[in-house]
Amino acid sequence: MPDLWQEAMDHAVVLARKSGEIVREALQNEMKVMCKSSSVDLVTKTDQKVEQLIIASVKDKFPTHSFIGEESVAAGQPCILSDNPTWIVDPVDGTTNFVHGYPFIAISIGFAADKQLEFGVVYSCLEDKMYTARKGKGAFCNGQPLQVSDQTDINQSIIATEFGSNRDPEVVDKIFSSMRKVLCLPIHGMRGAGTAATNMCLVAAGSAEAYYEIGIHCWDIAAGAVIVSEAGGVLMDVGGGPLDMMSRRVVAANNKTIAQRLIKEIEAYPATRDDAPIDSKE
């Protein structure tokens, strides 16, 4: 039986690679930096250029498909996932890294149909690592199969997380409180690449046991979720239930044992859902 979405996935890989070239080229030149919600939530012309390239190409090849893209949503497009085949895209995940030339910058392309994630492509363009996963067919990095770590002891784990861009003192308090509790389990160490997509791929590759964060968006994690799942890992909400892609919360782990132990230490705080009505958003 032919795979309905294989052609779309192949196209996503081509687009990711092309976008990676644009990013690498832009790093050689000066970038215009603009601010979004705060002085630490950055966007550049390259983010917008890459997203426009992807939208135009997808519209051309798959005119009936829908689109959720970070910069389109920032420009006022709604962020609602329907049953329609939908591309969920972060054109430059790790924009702060991009502005600095810090070596983790990823193009993240997820794809859902009937609200189910079908494939994910994450291209870490400075490392030239193309991560791909098609539901039911495994996860790969540059063609090599990925497998999560088999560690079940939280005391032997590396956990990835980020401080995010929310500088509200109450939020910062919760972030640090969670972090101290996780460190005191104890664990082997914490890491932060500066991009959700890359952090998730590190879990899929077995290099870290888990990644958690509150405040990310659906476009940051849609592709990574498929990659982690197809590498044998699990996706959950920080409250312990199943992952809700629009909730702004994620736990991606090698297995349920590690995920559930980690979740006990995470102090959640409110974040406006991605699919909330536009006038209720920050």
Partner: protein
Amino acid sequence: MAEWTECMNFGITIARQASKVILEAFRAKKDVMLKSSPADLVTETDQRVEKMLISRIRERYPTHKFIGEESVAAGEKLELTDSPTWIIDPIDGTVNFVHRFPFVAISIAFAVNKQTEFGIVYSCVEDKMYRAQRGGGAFVNDVPLHTSGQEDITKSLVVTEIGAERDCLALCTMTTNIMNLLAIPIQGIRAVGTAAVDMVLVATGGADAYYHIGMHCWDIAASALIVTEAGGVVLDTDGSEFDMMSRKVIAASSMPVAKRIAQVVRAFPCTRDDEDPARVNNGGHCISSGL
């Protein structure tokens, strides 16, 4: 100084030889031993690589001295004299090595008259050979390196680590430091899990500063020279002159950024590397956990 160029080239050669041992072991299961804390790990590969590096250097330069992480852990005296001295971390990022987290570095520094003459940091999974010779600039895979030159702390990306200490004072100090830096605000905090690689990222311009408390001289001796030769500055966390044995460092793109970080960051008490070796934490119990 031209006379140490030959030593540096020899250092690069043996770093590459050592990387073959590390990369072969990288994918394999490892027996892990604990040193000073449940997050301070050592493996048989750390020990084997250090022995290999020292024996090859000794063969070529029989009068030279050594300060090596695993030798010190085994009870060797840690003393920097005027003699030509190789300061070695065979695997910086042992936790990463154990987890196959892809940042693992061999760090080799060389000092004469207590001054660092060259530094080599080989990030071997990435195949990036960072090097600098005093007065000769800094390079990665022979491409020149320059720090970002950033002078505005609010536009800075800072790399740091929580470290291997798990006692409350150390952990609270480290997390409070990060919290206070984020509040300035700075643009972000990053961590790759090895002091040597964290610091050379400042030399590349990809990050604007690195600071840490609790690491050892072998973790930073090489990368400190690489940062300064790339145009950056290296200080103590209290803003005073950098002291390799103090277990504290700020490496930054510029003096204003370094000084601003020094205003915010607090250190927890650390015994100097060159104090009485009986107190320097040694490896002991072997807790096997094949990973």
